[in-house]
């Protein structure tokens, strides 16, 4: 389920970083409130546990095996926000140290495995386990099962939309080349039939062991009604996000004057003036009177000089 670098185009990567940034911020703030001074060790050790769990193979009938993701498990134990952070740490380390999952696809992987798995797993567990928490085994199984399927579905949609979103002038795909109907079948079939039951069983067994050993889980049974409502919200979100990606028009906020006129009926005066200034400076990344390639090189040199100057200034201010 870890999407490597080079499978998703820049637009998709940017969208998922933009989606995850406020979620990471909110998770940091929420976790600070709930875990207080112990937040750092608890989160670090929970993340290390999930990392190790991901490395262990769970045996299944037929002599085969597979590793579990642990997103639902960590959310059940720590809560959804801490689960999100914990999974984010694990995914980052995996991408950095083991090359498991990409750096550019880190936003998308975090969305699938840290956000969707933690939240869907947590709220399903809260809804199914009941007020007294007696149905914990079934709840953990269903929560983990559904959370894996949700994450696999999101991954399939992200990969399957690439040929639509990112193709060259000839219509050839530039990144993951398979259409949605192929990615959905390829991702969902093994996950629904094999990996999700395995994740469900392993999670249920682990939660059962922890509860029997006197441990406790995060879910507060009294808030179950609220959590059910949030579950509906989450389901709506899961449906809406892939639809947003289908838009193949100009990205939000990158409209030209003509497009803006079509959208809102007029072009604001300030916008028109600024648009012309920018074009006069670097029209299409080039300069009038220069060859196209040379123009690109000069534009790139200017661009990199501007960025390095900005970093230098930031370094000076940071030092102070």
């Amino acid at each position: 389920m870890h999407i490597p670098d080079g499978y998703l185009g820049p637009k998709t990567c940017a969208v998922f970083y933009a989606i995850m940034a406020p979620l990471w911020y909110a998770a940091l703030k929420k976790t600070e409130k709930t875990l207080e001074v112990s937040q750092l060790p608890v989160l670090s050790l929970a993340s290390a546990s999930v990392f190790v769990i991901m490395m262990l193979n769970f045996p299944v009938p037929g002599g085969s095996s597979g590793h579990i993701v642990g997103g639902a498990m960590v959310a059940i134990l720590l809560g959804p926000w801490a689960g999100l952070l914990s999974m984010t740490l694990v995914l980052f380390l995996q991408a950095l140290l083991f090359g498991d999952g990409g750096i550019t696809a880190f936003g998308a992987n975090s969305f699938n495995m840290a956000f969707l798995m933690s939240f869907s797993g947590y709220f399903i567990y809260a809804a199914v386990s009941g007020k007294d928490g007696k149905r914990f085994f079934a709840a953990a199984f269903i929560a983990a099962y559904v959370s894996v399927c949700v994450a696999a579905f999101a991954t399939a949609v992200e990969l399957g939309l690439q040929p639509v979103l990112e193709a060259d002038a000839m219509g050839m795909p530039l990144y993951a080349p398979y259409p949605l109907k192929v990615t959905l079948i390829a991702m969902m079939t093994p996950h629904v039939l094999f990996f999700a039951p395995m994740e469900g069983l392993a999670t249920a067994l682990i939660v059962a062991y922890i509860l029997k050993a006197g441990g406790r889980v995060h879910v507060n049974a009294e808030g179950a009604a609220l959590k059910r409502r949030m579950l509906v919200f989450l389901a709506v979100l899961v449906v809406m996000v892939p639809l947003g990606l289908l838009a193949s028009e100009t990205p939000f906020g990158e409209w030209g004057g003509e497009e803006l006129k079509n959208l809102i009926g007029y072009v604001p005066r300030g916008f028109a003036r600024l648009e012309n200034v920018w074009k006069a400076l670097l029209p299409d990344y080039g300069f009038s009177g220069m060859g196209e390639t040379f123009g690109y090189v000069v534009s790139a040199l200017i661009g990199s000089a501007v960025v390095v100057s900005a970093i230098y200034l930031w370094g000076r201010l940071w030092k102070r």
């Binding site: 290390a48 546990s49 190790v52 922890i210 441990g215 790139a300």
Partner: protein
């Protein structure tokens, strides 16, 4: 006092002949645990040229991370085979001038190469692009053939992934783990995140050792490989046990940190300012990025 020496056979991992000559095979769980633990340690702590003299080693770790990150993003923007070859050439030059061990580099790239080649293999046969046939064969009544367009598209997709993986591998092989975390802490990443990341990395191997020891203690008491249900139960036990130990650890760790004055607020060292070499490296990375991202 004379140093005690263990007989050689005790150090051999596979002294597994039972009395009647039947192989006592390692159980499924034990075998996986040992293999994975060995792989993880070998992968992370393999000797590299992090401390040596080379191009990347002369750059500040945070500038190194940013520069490699920018080159990776540039590769994602590449839209033609020529641009990807350009990035591949940069990656090769970086590896050579940073004196990275080429065998280790290949070892790190190989899994990504094999995975991507497998995943994208239908692309080479023109299932999604069509095109003119290069060579093929008949399977029953269907024709399976490599097509020119398919091979071109497949090669581009696979090579992009390989080049990106090679940049990551070069970063890791030319930078010590501690420098990677130090470098990250100087970037505009929340201090909480980088500290938690470092602690996760440290305790990962402690927890791995706990599970490994649990596996070893079980192996020493059980001769025959266990049944499926038992191994599943043991998996749950060892993971549950590890999680429990982890939470207990975290309590002890919090007490230790609080006793040393930790109040929940982190102070991150700002390090030394960038040198000219760092700015030159960043300038080069962004130059490549702007060249590649022009489309």
């Amino acid at each position: 006092m004379e140093e005690m020496k263990l007989p050689e056979w005790m150090g051999e991992a596979k002294a597994v002949k039972y009395l009647d000559g039947i192989d006592v095979r390692q159980g499924f769980m034990e075998k996986n645990l040992l293999t994975l633990a060995r792989f993880a340690r070998g992968f992370v702590f393999q000797s590299n040229n992090a401390a040596g003299r080379g191009l990347l080693q002369s750059v500040d770790p945070s500038a190194r991370i940013v520069g490699i990150g920018v080159l990776i993003v540039a590769c994602v923007f590449a839209r033609s085979a020529g641009e990807i070859m350009f990035a591949a050439a940069i990656s090769l030059m970086l590896a050579v001038f940073s004196r990275v061990n080429m065998l280790m580099l290949l070892k790190r790239i190989l899994p990504a190469f094999l995975l991507t080649l497998t995943v994208f293999s239908p692309v080479f046969f023109g299932f999604f692009s069509g095109g003119s046939e290069l060579m093929g064969f008949d399977v029953f009544s269907a024709r399976v053939a490599l097509t020119f367009e398919g091979v071109r598209l497949g090669a581009m997709l696979v090579s992009r992934v390989i080049v990106i993986t090679s940049f990551m591998a070069i970063l890791f092989l030319s930078t010590a783990e501690s420098d990677i975390f130090k470098g990250l802490s100087r970037l505009p990443v929340p201090g909480f995140f980088t500290t938690a990341l470092f602690m996760t990395f440290r305790y990962l191997f402690v927890l791995l050792k706990i599970v490994e020891d649990a596996g070893l203690s079980r192996k020493s008491r059980v001769i025959n490989p266990a049944k499926l249900k038992d191994t599943q139960g043991w998996f749950a036990f060892s993971v549950g046990f590890m999680v429990e130990r982890a939470f207990r650890f975290s309590g002890d760790l919090t007490s230790a940190m609080v006793s040393r004055g930790f109040t929940g607020r982190l102070k991150v060292s700002k390090g030394v300012p960038f040198a000219i070499a760092d700015y030159a490296w960043l300038g080069f990375s962004f130059f490549v990025f702007f060249i590649m991202a022009r489309a």
